[in-house]
C-alpha cells in the first residue's frame, strides 16, 4: 500500500512538472518583426504627432504570445512624438474608459505552476504599456489594452498640455478579420449614368423622397417587410463616420461566419430588399443584451442632392431574438427607433439638418400592419430625413426643416 502511494506521488509529480514545462514557454516576438505598423495612421496637431495601429488577432498573438482576442482584449499601438516646448500628458482612459491595465492583462494569462514564466509575462507587459507624460522633444511608444471591437474601431487619443490645452486625435481604423456587410458592394457602379437623378432644389428632393416605396420587401418582392422610415444624405464616408462616431457597429456578411461570442454584436443582419437587391450596408447598436439592439439597413439610391448621395434606410429596435429558429420581433412602435437615431446623431454632433416627409403611410395601434415575421407594427407614416456632417456640429447649430410638422412637435402626440 505504502509503495503504491509512493508511486502515485511520483507519477503525479512527473505529470505536474511536464504540464508546467509544457505551458511555461513565453516567446513574444520583437515588435519590428510583426508588420502591423504598415497599417498605422498618423495625425499631427500643434507640434505633436500621433501614430496609431490596431493589432489583429494574429498580430496580437505574435507580439504578446498570448491569445488576447479570446479574452476580449484588443491592443492599440501608439507612438507619440512631442516636438512642443511643453510636456503633454497622455490619458489612456480617453482611448477606452474601460481599458485593461497591463498587469491585469498579464494576470488573466497567468499559468499554473509557472512562477518564472508569469514573472516574465508581467515584466514584458508592464514594459509595453504607455501612460503618463511625454517630455518636450521626446518620442514614446507603447500599447493600450482596450475592449475588443471588430469592423471599424474609433478612438480618441487625448493629450493634455501643461497649459491645460487638450489636443484630441480621432482615429477610424479598420480591424482585419470581419468581412463587413458592404465589402463586396461596388458603390461606384451600382447605377448607370442614365439611372441617376440629381436635384438641386429642396422641393424636388422632398417630392422624390415622398415617392419612394413605403416599405422594403422580401426576396421575390411578393411581401412587404419593414417600413423605409429613414433617409440619410451625405457621401458614403461621411455617413459611415457619423454612424461609427455615434457608436454603431458594423455587421458581418452571410458568407463568412462570425465567432459565436461576437454574433450578438457583429452577426449578419437578415436581408430585406429594395431596388431588387438586399441592403447595401447594415449597422447595429447593441445595448446590454441581444434582445436590446437597434438595426439599421441602408441602400444607396439613384438620387443625388446637390451632388451628395442619398441613402434610403430602415431602422427598427429588436425586442426579442431567437437564434434557433432564427426569429426576431421588432418594437411595434417603429417610430421610437427613428426618434432614437435622431437624438443619437444629434448628441454625437454629427447631425447638420433634419426634416420629415410623408411616404410610409400611417398605421394605428388598433389597426397595425404586419412585418415579414407576421408581427404587428404601427407608425405615424413619416420618414425622417437626416443630413450628416463630417465636422462636429453643436446642438444649437442643427437646422430643422419645416416640411411635415414632426410628430413630436404636434400637440397631442
Amino acid at each position: 500500500m505504502q509503495s503504491y502511494l509512493d508511486r502515485c506521488g511520483l507519477v503525479l509529480f512527473v505529470v505536474l512538472s511536464l504540464t508546467a514545462y509544457g505551458c511555461a514557454s513565453f516567446n513574444p516576438r520583437p515588435i519590428d518583426q510583426v508588420p502591423f505598423q504598415t497599417r498605422a495612421q498618423t495625425q499631427s496637431e500643434n507640434n505633436v504627432r500621433v501614430t496609431a495601429a490596431v493589432l489583429s488577432a494574429q498580430e496580437s498573438k505574435a507580439v504578446f504570445d498570448l491569445d488576447l482576442y479570446k479574452k476580449g482584449i484588443q491592443p492599440i499601438w501608439l507612438e507619440i512624438q512631442n516636438n512642443d516646448e511643453e510636456r503633454v500628458w497622455f490619458a489612456p482612459a480617453g482611448v477606452d474608459r474601460g481599458y485593461f491595465s497591463p498587469l491585469e492583462v498579464a494576470y488573466m494569462h497567468h499559468r499554473s505552476f509557472a512562477k518564472e514564466t508569469n514573472n516574465k509575462i508581467d515584466k514584458y507587459l508592464h514594459k509595453q504599456g504607455i501612460r503618463g507624460h511625454i517630455e518636450p522633444g521626446t518620442l514614446r511608444s507603447g500599447f493600450v489594452f482596450t475592449n475588443l471591437d471588430l469592423g471599424t474601431k474609433i478612438f480618441n487619443v487625448d493629450l493634455v498640455g501643461d497649459d491645460q490645452q487638450i489636443r484630441t486625435f480621432t482615429f477610424f481604423i479598420s480591424v482585419p478579420g470581419l468581412k463587413v456587410s458592404y465589402a463586396d458592394v461596388d458603390f461606384a457602379n451600382l447605377y448607370s449614368k442614365d439611372e441617376m437623378v440629381s436635384y438641386e432644389g429642396k422641393k424636388d428632393l422632398r417630392k422624390a423622397l415622398e415617392n419612394l416605396p413605403c416599405c422594403s420587401k422580401n426576396e421575390d418582392g411578393t411581401k412587404q417587410a419593414d417600413p423605409l422610415n429613414l433617409v440619410i444624405i451625405g457621401n458614403g464616408k461621411t455617413v459611415h463616420q457619423a454612424l461609427i462616431r455615434s457608436g454603431w457597429d458594423e455587421t458581418g456578411t452571410m458568407e463568412r461566419s462570425v465567432a459565436v461570442t461576437e454574433q450578438y454584436r457583429y452577426g449578419p443582419v437578415s436581408p430585406f430588399y429594395l431596388y431588387g437587391r438586399p441592403q447595401d450596408a447594415a449597422f447595429r447598436k447593441t445595448r446590454e443584451a441581444a434582445d436590446e439592439r437597434n438595426h439599421l439597413r441602408l441602400w444607396l439610391s439613384p438620387i443625388r442632392y446637390k451632388g451628395e448621395q442619398v441613402w434610403v434606410g430602415q431602422i427598427s429596435r429588436d425586442i426579442k431574438v431567437r437564434y434557433i429558429p432564427n426569429k426576431f420581433q421588432i418594437e411595434p412602435l417603429v417610430d421610437e427607433a427613428r426618434t432614437y437615431i435622431l437624438q443619437d446623431l444629434w448628441y454625437s454632433q454629427t447631425l447638420a439638418k433634419f426634416g420629415y416627409v410623408k411616404g410610409v403611410g400611417a398605421a394605428s395601434m388598433s389597426k397595425p400592419r404586419k412585418t415579414l415575421q407576421e408581427d404587428p407594427y404601427f407608425t405615424d407614416g413619416y420618414r425622417l430625413v437626416l443630413w450628416v456632417s463630417r465636422k462636429p456640429i453643436s446642438f444649437s447649430e442643427v437646422e430643422a426643416l419645416h416640411w411635415e410638422v414632426p410628430p413630436f412637435r404636434k400637440k397631442d402626440f
Partner: protein, 418 residues
C-alpha cells in the same frame, strides 16, 4: 404504480393551472396609491421647472403590477412645467443612452405565454410614457424607462428649446432598497471641534506628507494597502463626483448582501454593490467606499475613503485608498481573496482620468507620503498581495457641478516619474 402515475397526471395540470392563474394577474395601482413622489426633487431654470422621482423596486412593483426591476427596467417619473412662450422638447437619450422605449419595457415584462394581459400591459406602459413635447404654459408628466441603478440614481434631464439650445437639469436621487455603508455614519460627530485642524494650501501639503503610508488591520499591527489618495470636497461634492463618474455605492454586510455576493462570486455575476472588506485608518474602518464594476465581480476598481480631521479653507479632506481587482486567488488567511493589480499607481492615475472625463475634477496635485517601493522590491498588503509604487499620493479637488475639462488646474508639488 400505474395509480401513482395517474394521480400525477391529474395533479400536474392542476399545479400548472394554479401557477398560471397565480402569476398572470396584472393589477397596477395608481400613482396616488404609491407615495413614491414624497421623495421627488424639483429644479428650476428660467421659466421651466422639472420634478423627478424614482420609485424603488417595491414601489415599482405596485405601480406597474409586475416586478419591473427584476427584469432590469427602472422607471423614472418626471413632471415638466413649462411657463415659457415656446414649447420645449424632452430628450430621453440625454437621460440614458440605453433607455427603453415604453413598449419594449412592457415587452420584457410580458408573461411567457399569450395572455390577454400582454396587450393590456403594452397599452399601460405606453400611456404612461413621458411625452416629448411640452407646450407653452403647460405641465406634462410621465415615466421614462431606464436600466436599473440602485443606491443613488444620477441622471440629466435635457430639454431642447425651439432655438435648439439645451437646458440641462442634473439630478442625484436616492433609491431606497440597498443599505450603503455610509448611511449610519454621523460625519458631523466624527471629530470633536478641538481635533479639527485647518490649513492653507502649503500647510496642507506638509500635513498630507505626514499621513501614514498605509491602511492597517483592525489591531493596527499590520500594514495593508497604501493610502494613495486624498480627496477634497464636502460630503455632497465627493458623493456626486463619484456617482457621476459611474462609481457605485457599497452595501454593508447583511444577509441579503452576503447572499448576492456569494452568488455572483460563484457564477461570475455582476453584483454592483457588493460589500468590501474593512481596512483601518484613524482606528476605524472606511467611512465610505465606492466600486466600479466591469465584466465580472473579479474585475472591478475599489476605493475606500476616511474623513480626516484636516480642513482646507473649511473644506473637508478625505484620505483614501484605491486598487484594481484583477482576479481571484487562494490565500492561507481568508481562503479566497481578490488579487489586486500590483501597479497601484496605474489605478490611481486611472481615477484621475475618470474624474477628469466625467468633468468632476477641479484641481489636481501629487504629494509624497506613501514611500516608494520599486518593482524589484515590492511591498505586501494584508492578504499578501505584492504592490509597487512611485510613493506619491494623488490629491483631487472634486466638484458637484460639471467643470470644463480644459480648466483643471495642475499644482506642481511633485511629478510622477513616468
Amino acid at each position: 404504480m400505474p395509480n401513482t402515475i395517474r394521480i400525477c397526471w391529474i395533479i400536474l395540470p392542476l399545479i400548472f393551472i394554479l401557477f398560471v392563474s397565480g402569476c398572470a394577474t396584472f393589477n397596477p395601482r395608481t400613482e396616488e396609491e404609491v407615495p413614491f413622489r414624497e421623495r421627488a426633487q424639483t429644479q428650476e431654470k428660467g421659466n421651466v421647472q422639472v420634478t423627478a422621482a424614482v420609485p424603488s423596486a417595491e414601489e415599482s412593483k405596485r405601480l406597474f403590477g409586475v416586478d419591473i426591476y427584476g427584469r432590469g427596467v427602472q422607471p423614472i417619473w418626471l413632471e415638466i412645467e413649462n411657463e415659457d412662450e415656446d414649447p420645449v422638447y424632452f430628450l430621453p437619450l440625454g437621460l440614458d443612452p440605453n433607455y427603453f422605449s415604453p413598449i419594449e419595457a412592457a415587452f420584457v415584462n410580458h408573461f411567457g405565454f399569450k395572455t390577454p394581459f400582454n396587450e393590456e400591459m403594452n397599452r399601460f406602459f405606453y400611456e404612461r410614457r413621458k411625452s416629448i413635447r411640452i407646450a407653452p404654459r403647460s405641465v406634462m408628466s410621465g415615466f421614462v424607462y431606464t436600466p436599473v441603478d440602485e443606491g443613488t440614481k444620477a441622471f440629466n434631464v435635457d430639454l431642447l428649446g425651439e432655438d435648439h439650445e439645451i437646458r440641462t437639469f442634473t439630478f442625484f436621487i436616492n433609491v431606497p432598497g440597498i443599505r450603503p455603508d455610509h448611511q449610519d455614519i454621523d460625519f458631523e460627530a466624527l471629530y470633536p471641534k478641538a481635533q479639527i485642524v485647518s490649513y492653507e494650501e502649503q500647510g496642507l501639503r506638509k500635513a498630507l506628507e505626514r499621513v501614514p503610508c498605509c491602511t492597517t488591520n483592525k489591531e493596527g499591527t499590520e500594514q495593508g494597502d497604501p493610502l494613495n489618495l486624498v480627496v477634497i470636497g464636502d460630503q455632497d461634492e465627493v458623493h456626486n463626483a463619484f456617482i457621476r463618474a459611474g462609481w457605485d455605492e457599497t452595501e454593508i454586510i447583511y444577509r441579503a448582501s452576503a447572499w448576492k455576493t456569494g452568488m455572483s462570486f460563484l457564477f461570475g455575476g455582476r453584483y454592483r454593490y457588493s460589500p468590501i472588506s474593512p481596512l483601518y485608518v484613524y482606528g476605524r474602518r472606511q467611512d465610505v467606499s465606492f466600486q466600479k464594476a466591469r465584466g465580472t465581480i473579479h474585475e472591478r476598481n475599489h476605493l475606500r475613503l476616511w474623513l480626516s480631521p484636516m480642513r482646507l479653507n473649511g473644506k473637508p479632506v478625505w484620505v483614501g485608498q484605491i486598487s484594481r481587482d484583477i482576479g481571484v486567488r487562494f490565500t492561507t488567511k481568508t481562503i479566497l481573496t481578490h488579487k489586486i493589480d500590483p501597479d497601484v499607481d496605474e489605478t490611481r492615475d486611472f481615477l484621475i482620468q475618470d474624474l477628469w472625463y466625467s468633468q468632476g475634477l477641479l484641481k489636481l496635485a501629487y504629494v509624497k507620503g506613501v514611500g516608494p517601493a520599486p518593482i524589484s522590491a515590492p511591498r505586501g498588503n494584508l492578504t499578501g498581495d505584492p504592490y509597487f509604487s512611485d510613493g506619491l499620493r494623488a490629491v483631487l479637488w472634486v466638484s458637484r457641478d460639471r467643470l470644463d475639462m480644459e480648466a483643471v488646474e495642475f499644482i506642481e508639488w511633485e511629478l510622477p516619474p513616468r
